[in-house]
Symmetry: C2
Subunit: 293 residues, 2 copies
Amino acid sequence: MVHNGIEYGDMQLIAETYDLFNRAMGLPSQEIHEIFTEWNRGELESFLIKITGEILVKIDEDSGRSLVDVILDEAKQKGTGKWTSQNALDLGAPIPTINAAVEARILSDYKEERVTASKILPGPKPHFKGDRKSTIQNLQDALYASKICSYAQGFVLLKLASMEYRYEMDLSEIARIWRGGCIIQARFLEGIRAAFNRSRDLPNLLLDPKLGEAVGQRHGALRQIVKLAIEHGIPTPGFSSALAYYDGYRSARLPTNLTQAQRDYFGAHTYRRIDKDGTFHTEWKDMNKGPES
Amino acid sequence: MVHNGIEYGDMQLIAETYDLFNRAMGLPSQEIHEIFTEWNRGELESFLIKITGEILVKIDEDSGRSLVDVILDEAKQKGTGKWTSQNALDLGAPIPTINAAVEARILSDYKEERVTASKILPGPKPHFKGDRKSTIQNLQDALYASKICSYAQGFVLLKLASMEYRYEMDLSEIARIWRGGCIIQARFLEGIRAAFNRSRDLPNLLLDPKLGEAVGQRHGALRQIVKLAIEHGIPTPGFSSALAYYDGYRSARLPTNLTQAQRDYFGAHTYRRIDKDGTFHTEWKDMNKGPES
């Protein structure tokens, strides 16, 4: 199940990459095919990148157009992505990129409403005038970095599931098996196997020196790509969630102190402090101001 | 339950706003208090904005610091947000902003790992040098626009739940009741009530002329704010997901045509076409190239 959740994440990140090439940059499918074919010779080498390249070069015999261009954009799902998201919530594993992928398929199903909304709701028109070569390079780096963030999420879920259900999974071995052959088969899984070999109890792939460094070298490209998408009005929930995950995970202090204060204000849920042990409650309201304040 | 899911969304958007004021712009709590107090006199008027203002002005007697500054940033939850996310997946309602809020609380609980990661993973340091007044205005507009997107998601879930479970809910009446008094009590709910009075079967709040226009006038501010967060390394999963929802919903064509092609390639799941009825399957692989291609 988690394999399939990760697969949803991969497919969504690839779809967003394709969307940026297609809608933002205006590249025809044939050119996007060439980029994916090239990428499959490098660090992104994987079954899904390979078949994306093959799909994009396929011509529809009826229309003479690229076949992908005449396929309806309503994606279906069989439930494994959904179950991954639901299970992660039960186990307390944050998997925002996988969730974003599941949700993107759900949203795609609202085709009629989207067509209506497209005529009403304003937004920037694609107008790419940037440097093509560096943008393609940024997209490659953003895809690789986001993929690591997404797998980091998926492997935390596996780890928690293994503890909760007493599966006693060997995560290095799982990476090796997936590397052998499956839909998410990828050269990249070797790095994950190596990471768990270096540290069997690694809490998160981002804390592995090599994988962390790989994202650390590419977060700038990911930032550029999400900004590009925002400026062109292209939705990139997968890339955005991977970046928010990265920035959230590396935040020693998040703004959830305010959340805790709010919960204590309206529900007396108490809070903890940074400077001493215990739980605390505050009467937040200034009583002198009366009930209307 | 959905009320609480929406409440999670509101609280997360407020927390991100506070984080941008605090970490990106470096404003002290007293100044942020003044902004929230001011906002509570306008279109954002609500219980949660009001108490945020009150919280930010509270001084800790022990340390003499703002009390919020000494509260630990591990947010707890009682389950209602999680159930909202899980139920929405079952019913096929995309609620990415609410999910992002639930996930943000989960991530906040990984405090020790975050502290470790903060020392290892690089990112931009806060370095705000922009125009303060216009940034505060953009944040106000971004918060309002994101709030509408989040409520649009929540009300779709209510609508689907009402159909699935035969609740026969009157969504206009629900907005009225919430307006009367509860944690998400807000002036803004009047606009939602009016929207459902205009069209009882409104599929999505974004398709209401007034609410759609309200977001349409503010999406530029929301784009500015998410870009600001990205440039300062501040995670804004709530704002980002609201923007991706807006851009996804107004996309007549999403890149899920590629997703469908991939699913047909590796699983023969078939696809539909834009130009004729029926389901189709393609032998994507060029058989002349043999099994290794």
